[in-house]
Subunit: 292 residues, 2 copies
């Protein structure tokens, strides 16, 4: 196992333990709702966003304990968005992280409510975090709310664009909102909790912004180059939905070159800050090379 | 116009003005999303919950300006829940506040996203409220998140109970969660912003808890005694859905007596605090006598 694999594996373990503490069990009525929530939260997600909170926060020397509720919160927002995006009225997907989506396993009403309660629980996780001063909790909630709002804007823009020819500029706007905002908020949350300086926060923001773009480019690539089995979600659906994607606009080879360019830019953004950036660079490598 | 009618009319005006400031317009892309949000937010709702924030807060001598974002936030959470509850997979309702529901006027995907963004905007309204210290914002967000989570629990319990015989105890549990929690949070938010004492907050909580119960009892009564035209939403739907209601359990006359008893209890809870309670008593009267 490489150092980064070990980092991700450790992250998954501690973030899952925290999520298990923060998400009510099915012993808290109504059982069906929390069964559905836990079905989606503990579906073997990569925990990329929480790992980013932890990687940035600990790079600035912050204790792990202070980062965990924020890490769990970004994953809860991410999972709520996946549950709602998979609904029949939205992307209508049956498969997520290798198993039935929430509305398929349970039902549509329960899936809508499972997303809704996760959305609330995310804010609750931060606001009730006794490890952090009120001022920090306010900053984090503001950060999370801004990103969550942009994520919904992005999903609407994405739906509006289906079947239409979309310019690169509009495509990037969709991704900056839909995926990039929450990735940036994750990295920034780690820096905010660690009380990074303004200049440091700026560098982290630029790095995360490139990382978000890289994530989307590789996501588009995987959709056309991988199988459903490896992805754990339906492959090739962007093409069927006639979505604007980087491979559709540029072709696969040019998109790979673009990914490498953005990867280099992400790493470059870290050069202005004086903290150990090994893990942050490895995360960028990992996204460039990911297979699922 | 009675004093209370004037109070409600004034509340609606200032709360609507604040909502108009806090909810992006359709000039902020994506237009369809914010058209949908505004369709539901400005649908002529009674603004009962925000009025309660203002009534309690001003009774404790708090400036109106400090209460307005919290007042707008409770209405946003309420409206998000209505949009999602009306969806085909949930209560499947075409009519709300006298006009087409969000998913009928727009589409299901947009309605899901409109509810989602309102949910986020509510937390954003409080966290970004520069009129309040960070400590107060944290208390308010905690209050709102707890209530919003209980509201979703209550909706799930309500769906789980459709077509089943439900005991009074379970019925009250559904309502305490689904309706009561947000009504209590509204009243408590007013008291929290006004820096009410522990004893005062306790009295307000007891009053609001009775008020919530009264609200539900009269809601059940209106569903069986009023027309769709007067209600502005589909009448008689509880019976068709075989929902457990007070009239179904007790009959109409006994339910009216129960409403009067709960009304008296609500008023009684206010006797322990030394603030002007005229408006709060009138609000209880208003709920007892409401026709829609």
């Amino acid at each position: 196992m490489s150092d980064l694999e070990k980092f991700f594996s450790d992250c998954t373990q501690i973030v899952d333990a925290r999520l298990d503490k923060l998400v009510p069990t099915n012993e808290t009525a109504p059982a069906r709702l929390y069964d559905a929530v836990r079905w989606s939260v503990f579906a073997g997600g990569k925990r990329f966003r929480p790992a980013l909170v932890l990687a940035v926060g600990t790079a600035f020397g912050c204790q792990e304990e202070k980062l965990l509720n924020a890490a769990a919160a970004v994953e809860m927002i991410h999972t709520y968005s996946l549950i709602h995006d998979d609904l029949p009225a939205m992307d209508d997907d049956d498969l997520r992280r290798g198993r039935a989506t929430c509305h398929v396993k349970f039902d549509e009403a329960t899936a809508i409510l499972a997303g809704d309660i996760l959305h609330t629980l995310a804010f609750q996780a931060i606001v009730n975090d006794k490890n952090l001063p009120a001022e920090t909790r306010v900053k984090l909630i503001s950060e999370l709310a801004n990103a969550a709002a942009r994520m919904v804007d992005g999903q609407q823009l994405d739906l509006d664009g289906e079947g239409k020819k979309i310019a690169l500029e509009d495509l990037e706007k969709i991704h900056r909102n839909k995926t990039g905002a929450m990735i940036s908020a994750s990295a920034r949350s780690g820096a905010i909790i660690a009380e990074a300086s303004g200049a440091e926060l700026k560098a982290v923001t630029s790095y995360a912004s490139k990382l978000g773009l890289l994530f989307q480019i590789t996501d588009d690539l995987l959709d056309v180059t991988q199988t459903t089995e490896i992805l754990g979600k339906t492959a090739g659906k962007d093409k069927r939905a006639e979505k604007a994607t980087y491979p559709a606009l540029y072709g696969i080879e040019e998109t790979r070159k673009l990914a490498e360019k953005v990867h280099a830019e992400a790493i470059n953004e870290l050069k202005t800050i004086e903290i150990p950036t090994v893990v942050l660079c490895e995360i960028a490598d990992f996204i460039l090379e990911r297979k699922s």
